[in-house]
């Protein structure tokens, strides 16, 4: 048995031991895990962003990259109480740009095509169900009036559709989670213990 594989296997089992109940072994693994996940791709950012995307092009002559460089350094002003407002400039820059992208992405990339493709022939069962389903689901999320009367009926139909879709999600997701468990068990049974070829 390879010692590294054994180490990995022991940590795997330590995490699974939580299924029986909380215990010191789990607690140890939990803290190792939490510690590891703090370092979390710091080195990668350093290489791929600071070196490849900023520093090399900058010394290669793209001088205006000094602007994002300065903005980036400003984010660290957050660590000082007096200058922390400067870090908000950098944060606002990123979040503002993202908001600009998102505003159009949501309206143009999602709302328009999804609305257009619901304008379909209701003469078929599928067509009728789709139009009714989309409209009633939308109306379930209408908050300005109590769900009574006609709106109540429509919202209720919407809830049926939503529940079917949640059932479908659930049915699909079981396979997703079981796949991961199969992966872990294969690691323990095959890679670690070599019980099966």
């Amino acid at each position: 048995m390879d010692p590294v594989t054994t180490l990995t296997a022991l940590f795997t089992l330590a995490i699974y031991s939580f299924l029986y109940r909380d215990n010191p072994v789990y607690r140890f693994a939990e803290h190792v895990f939490a510690g590891l996940s703090a370092g979390y791709y710091s080195g990668l950012i350093f290489q791929s962003v600071l070196v490849q995307q900023l520093w090399q092009p900058l010394i290669g002559g793209k001088l205006w990259l000094i602007v994002p460089g300065i903005l980036g350094v400003l984010t660290f002003a957050r660590l000082s109480t007096k200058w922390s407002w400067l870090s908000r400039v950098a944060l606002a820059f990123v979040i503002g740009a993202n908001a600009g992208i998102l505003l159009m992405q949501q309206l143009h990339g999602l709302v328009l095509p999804q609305v257009a493709e619901t304008m379909i022939n209701m003469g078929t069962i599928k067509g009728l169900l789709v139009v009714v389903g989309v409209i009633s689901t939308l109306m379930y999320f209408y908050f300005s009036k109590p769900h009574k009367g006609a709106l109540g009926v429509i919202a209720n139909v919407g809830m049926w559709f939503i529940m079917i879709s949640f059932g479908a999600h659930f049915g699909y997701t079981v396979m997703a989670r079981v796949s991961l468990l199969i992966g872990r068990v294969q690691f323990l049974v095959i890679d670690w213990l070599h019980l099966v070829d």
């Binding site: 939990e30 703090a38 709302v111 328009l112 619901t118 304008m119 067509g127 300005s144 949640f166």
Partner: protein, 292 residues
């Protein structure tokens, strides 16, 4: 609010400039035009939508009452804090595992402000674990402010809002361990959640807590519904935060979205009817909504 006026004026100027461009573009018709005429529909939709949102936010700021229908999970929030107070145990609140630029995080933090006021009033222990540093900082301020507002600034402890781990599974491992050891009375999960939803909610159930959850991620909702006592479904989270926080910026937005839901419903229905009865203009009508 002259700042607002300036902003609106600049926005309007930009929009007018954009609108003026199609005419220019048609004359030149070069491959690179200032305004892409294929996107007129997106422009109109954006203008109408932004206009509606701003209009309703303004009228809410001016004090217009905005009705939001009662949501079943909401009373449960206050009852849950009451339960924790009676039992002398902690309220666990997680504002999601999304970063600070997510709508669900804003909604979660808005509700947190409300809950922290109640826990401050009754001296109920509160625990708010956060995944990312920015929401952590924002949550700290929200809770501190709530305790100050409730007249108990000294009762605020910095470690009420806590960093646990920088990645969602490490975070879940830590929160789960904490739940089994501390046995909180009430767990509230409101924000953006991913796979960790059921990891934490099922453990919280095993630990015997009353649980209230809400997220706009549809793929996680079946699991919150299965493991929690109350679940806010999808946009109910936004409505709930508007309802509890009473902030015009949220109330007005919910109202504008409602208007748009009705409008889109009517448009969809009209388009579908045109198509069904093969009206001559069905294709033209539909093409107004298609993207190229």
């Amino acid at each position: 609010m002259c700042g607002d006026t300036t902003r609106y004026a600049v926005t309007a100027a930009v929009i007018v400039a954009l609108l003026a461009c199609p005419a220019a573009a048609q004359e030149t018709e070069s491959p690179g035009s200032l305004f892409n005429t294929d996107r007129v529909n997106a422009l109109l939709l954006m203008l109408a939508f932004c206009g509606a949102v701003l209009y309703f936010i303004r009228s809410s700021q001016r004090g217009k009452e905005m009705y939001i229908r009662p949501l079943p999970g909401l009373e449960a929030v206050e009852d849950g804090v009451g339960r924790a107070t009676e039992m002398g145990r902690t309220v666990l609140f997680i504002p999601g595992t999304g970063d600070i630029d997510q709508a669900e995080t804003f909604a979660g933090l808005a509700v947190l402000g409300k809950i922290a006021k109640i826990t401050a009033r009754y001296d109920t222990p509160l625990m708010v674990p956060c995944l990312y540093p920015m929401p952590l900082a924002a949550a700290s301020e929200v809770v501190r402010e709530a305790y100050t507002d409730a007249g108990k600034p000294d009762a605020f402890k910095p470690d009420m809002v806590r960093y646990m781990a920088g990645e969602s599974f490490g975070f879940s491992a830590a929160v789960n361990g904490w739940m089994m050891r501390e046995k909180p009375a009430t767990n509230i999960f409101l924000g953006q959640f991913h796979a960790e939803s059921l990891l934490m909610a099922e453990t919280g159930n095993a630990a015997g807590a009353i649980q209230i959850a809400g997220t706009a991620q549809p793929e996680q909702l079946p699991f919150f519904i299965a493991a929690c006592d109350y679940t806010l479904i999808g946009e109910e989270l936004y409505a709930a935060s508007a309802y509890l926080s009473k902030e015009p910026k949220y109330l007005g937005a919910v109202k504008a979205q409602d208007i748009f839901k009705i409008t889109l419903t009517v448009l969809i229905l009209a388009g579908a009817l045109f198509t069904t009865f093969d009206a001559g203009w069905a294709e033209t009508f539909r093409s107004w909504f298609e993207v190229h």
